[in-house]
Amino acid sequence: MKFWRTPLDVERLKVPRGEVHIIKDRCKGCGFCVEYCPRGALEMSDEFNAKGYHPPRITDETLCVSCNLCEMLCPEFAIFCVLKEEPEPGEEKKVEG
């Protein structure tokens, strides 16, 4: 990850990772999630869903930081993300503060 200024505690902090779930057939292709994903982890696909809309697809799953913005903005309850718990030895489990 790029930083304007490297935080002092960058060694200790862990960027949360999210797992995005897209319920494609509910999507009406509004593009809110794609437009407002702060990490650019989503794009519109060329695929058609059952209703004939283009649902989003994930560009790179590792980009998701589980901010849930897509989930909250989606008017169709068609996308959500869950926090991936990946404890790694020697690393602190949670970001405090």
Binding site: K28, E35, M72, C74, P75, F77
Partner: protein, 293 residues
Amino acid sequence: MRADAPAKPAIEHPMESLLRMDRIPHIWCPTCGIGTAVTAFASALEENEIPLDSVSVVSGIGCTGRVAGYMKLDSYHTTHGRAVPFAVGLHLAKPSLKVVVFSGDGDLAGIGGNHFIHTARRNVDITVICVNNFLYAMTGGQVAATTPVSANTSTSPYGNFEQPFNLPLLAQSCGAVYVARWTALHIRRMTKAFGEALNKKGFSFVEVIAPCSTLYARRNRLGTGLDLMKFYHDNSEIRHGADPNDLNIGFQEKIICGKFVDIEKPTFLDSMNECYGKSLGEKYEIYEGAAHA
């Protein structure tokens, strides 16, 4: 996600316990903002740990009027403009319920305007959420009491020349104890406002400016709901505590958002109990509502 992946993921959308999933997909158009307001409302209920069985949603008629039908709560879909008085009766019959009105601007400020102002005046302890998309959407995009001047609707085809309501000012001047306005893009602030409104004792009001793609955006050549969301991003200003007189919304002009009123005042029932208690003394049997409450 691969193209052949199953349409429904193994784990459920976190909102599913709060929605009538057998009725989803809903009827709202692509890029409509009502679904986003529903998500924020559901999040507010969860974040504030409000016992869901105690929540009742009352809606009138219109696009937003359909909210009651999608929320897995005690929900009432009433007639056009009458959600507020229905909610007043429901609340007074069983004050332990948390009664929330989800209404559109046509429903609430047009046909239901009289109920809105009087319920605010009486400070009846209900929460009113108004999704304002600037026109009557369900019937095909007619001019509303909230349509900005010069906006084109199907019944103002040469542009609207009537002055619209400033809803936060209306609510505040009638006596609401909590008044806030957010756009559909201010998702976290909207959620917070819903939580505050739900926990507020008295008449609380939150206006949500939401995109209507099919009618408002199309007729006014503003693109889609996504373009309106981008417009909100660029043109809304957060001004907590702003003078409600300054909250008029002009056509494609700045939208001032924020929390404008947050005061304490005795509710309708507080005042009634006090008055009767004073006048009747021990003879007053304090009103408790339904026997099984």
